[in-house]
């Protein structure tokens, strides 16, 4: 707690404050633009963080994550197009309510729910992160291997398509991570004799490709879509009656979002879906869902913003990304020379304190932005795609190049743009690919260390209880239909 207090003190730095305000605005704009989401935004802005101090860079990426997730609600309510996938369920009730002439009320409910969800999850991160890090101290390579394997198995629940295809995409990502010179032995793997692949394939270039360029190609197939904004006077805070109606829903969804966020590989999207479904299940106004029920808006928004803090728990405490955007934040931290893990909570408490304080401040900024600026921000969604996407193309090229200053990475980004487009179209999850790519190096390293410890005897894994627990969880995810199919059914029912 003292670290957060010192973090709050550090926020007195005008530079850091301006950075948070600026990135909250930028993240909000990214979240408003259909097609761009928190992941794409973080990938495109990662090069900008290169020249910043590690702390400032992390604050920028985390703030972008939170604000883009929040802003998706505005477009969901006003133009029935979720700015981010995590706001898809907000459309279900937000847009009908807006059509009834109550857009301001819908935005107000979404904003309050987002803020409460976001603030609670940051507080949760503050208290649970050190506890999780404490548990992680007991982890050796076998436990980390089992945990990473569990994280990869969770890919089976990602995406609306087949679980097997998601796992293939994840395995493809892991395979990509093996490209380059093996650091332990110095053996070249899949370098094809070119030194451009010695250091492996650029994670950022792949991310820009599969999220930025692939979406550009996807947008080229949707040029006929016309967007119209529902008229709105002004956003307003929920009335006392409204608040009484949604408070339990907000708290429930906040809990769901935070817990779902903690699960490796899951993120805001599935959190909002579960939050929405649970709200409908417990509501006294079930019949109103889908027709403009404020509980539906609150459930979706509280859950997806709560998941932001939740996803950062495993990312910071264990070095396992809780979502694709968290994977980019992790890549950003590693690029900056910051190594997340249990030691971070003891050795870099002040760093985390500033990060938590920045996230809290960003969440309060959402409240102001949502209530005061929603009407203005909504206009941003009407930027013609013929102007917006060429600019995204420019940033994609520069972003892919800037990290390693290697022209080869531009071609990597473009190739993975086409691959990402085809994957999306054929039911292979690009999110799985991204997470597989991040976790690939870790899982190989930890498997190698474990096998060294065990002198090559696989059965020795069974002597490690924590590892066995994660193996059992992995088996449950992969082989028990109810777990996997339940999540997928849920996703389809809200699609």
């Amino acid at each position: 707690m003292s670290d957060v207090l010192s973090g709050l003190t550090a926020l007195g730095d005008p530079y850091l404050i301006s950075l948070i305000i600026l990135t909250t605005l930028v993240g909000t704009v990214i979240g408003l633009l259909p097609g761009l989401n928190a992941t794409t935004g973080a990938a495109l802005l990662l090069p900008f963080t290169l020249t910043l101090e590690p702390l400032a860079a992390t604050v920028v990426l985390a703030t972008i994550y939170g604000s883009a997730t929040f802003a998706g609600a505005i477009t969901a309510i006003l133009i029935n197009t979720p700015g981010t996938p995590a706001s898809a369920t907000t459309c279900l009730d937000g847009y009908p309510l807006a059509q009834k002439g109550e857009a301001g009320r819908a935005i107000g409910v979404a904003t309050v729910a987002s803020t409460v969800g976001g603030v609670c999850s940051v507080l949760f991160l503050l208290f649970v992160g050190p506890f999780m890090a404490g548990v992680a101290y007991k982890f050796g390579p076998p436990e980390y291997f089992a945990l990473t394997l569990f994280g990869l198995s969770m890919l089976a629940t990602i995406g609306s398509g087949s679980a097997v295809k998601s796992l293939i995409a994840g395995a493809f990502g892991v395979l990509l991570s093996t490209i380059g010179v093996d650091l332990l032995t110095g053996v070249e793997r899949y370098t094809f004799g070119t030194n451009m692949l010695y250091d492996g394939i650029s994670f950022v270039a792949v991310m820009i490709g599969i999220f930025g360029i692939a979406e550009l190609l996807e947008q080229s197939t949707r040029l006929h879509v016309v967007r119209k904004i529902v008229a709105m006077k002004a956003a307003k805070l929920p009335s006392r009656e409204d608040f009484a109606r949604i408070r339990t829903t907000i708290l429930r969804s906040t809990g769901i979002g935070t817990l779902v966020g903690i699960l490796p590989a899951e993120g805001s999207t599935i959190a909002s879906m579960i939050g929405y479904n649970e709200a409908r299940r417990f509501s006294r106004h079930k019949d109103n869902f889908g027709k403009g029920e404020i509980e539906g808006i609150a459930a979706s928004e509280a859950a997806n913003n709560a998941a932001v803090g939740g996803t950062l728990v495993p990312t910071l405490a264990l070095g396992i990304p809780g979502s694709p955007t968290a994977a980019i934040i992790l890549a950003g931290l590693l690029t900056q020379g910051v190594r997340p893990g249990p030691t971070m909570f003891q050795e870099q408490g002040e760093f985390l304190g500033v990060l938590f304080a920045a996230l809290l401040l960003a969440n309060l900024l959402f409240l102001a932005l949502g209530l005061l600026g929603a009407r203005v921000f909504a206009q941003i969604t009407l930027i013609p795609v013929r102007i917006l996407w060429p600019l995204v193309f420019i940033f994609s090229l520069v972003g892919a190049y800037a990290i390693r200053q290697a022209p080869f990475d531009i071609y990597v980004a473009l190739c993975f743009g086409v691959i990402g487009f085809l994957m999306n179209r054929t039911g292979f999850s690009v999110v799985s690919l991204a997470i597989g790519l991040v976790l690939g190096g870790m899982i190989e390293q930890r498997l190698g260390q474990s096998m060294s410890m065990f002198d090559g005897n696989w059965l020795m894994f069974l002597t490690r209880p924590i590892a066995v627990v994660f193996f059992v969880l992995t088996a449950l995810v992969l082989f028990t239909g109810p777990t996997r199919r339940g999540l997928q059914k849920l996703r389809r029912s809200t699609a």
């Binding site: 080229s220 190049y401 473009l414 260390q449 474990s450």
Partner: protein, 158 residues
């Protein structure tokens, strides 16, 4: 017709299976290190494990695809998509042979044009002003040097 559809649905998983099989074959060309230097397993072992897993999953996915008659979403791809792909290829070639900044200009203006933009002011805005401002931002503010080419040689000096 049914066969054609099945073949089309199976094509992606077959392609991935073949790709993984080739990647597996390629691992056989990796150098092996002497046993005393191997701390855990040979450098080729892990990629082989992953390739084997992908092949196995591809077979399972193929079975699922036929059994559930999975739908793909490759129908209805409009002309603009292919034009955009063409623009990306041209931009890549320009970046490779002529100049990075020029590639950004060609790419951005090309995409706008391929998507139906005909107003000269917009094309100049996205094709000239956008790339130049982005270049200046990264080059001057973030101190990132771009590869030299016909245009950037003028800026950086010969």
């Amino acid at each position: 017709m049914r066969l054609t559809r099945a073949a089309r649905l199976l094509a992606p998983v077959c392609l991935i299976g073949v790709f993984a099989a080739i990647a597996f074959g390629w691992t056989l060309t990796f150098e092996n290190v002497p046993p005393m230097l191997v701390r855990s397993f040979q450098p080729s072992a892990f990629p082989q494990l992953v390739c084997g897993l992908i092949v196995a999953l591809s077979i399972l996915a193929g079975y699922n695809t036929v059994r559930h008659d999975d739908a793909d979403n490759l129908d209805g791809i409009p002309r603009q998509f292919y034009l955009t792909i063409g623009v990306l290829i041209i931009a890549s070639l320009v970046a490779m042979t002529l100049d990075f900044l020029l590639a950004m200009m060609v790419g951005a203006a090309g995409i706008a044009a391929a998507w139906g933009e005909r107003r000269a002011s917009i094309l100049i805005g996205v094709g000239l002003v956008g790339p130049v401002l982005t270049f200046l931002l990264f080059n001057e503010a973030l101190q990132i040097r771009f590869p030299r080419g016909v245009l950037l040689n003028i800026y950086y000096g010969w």
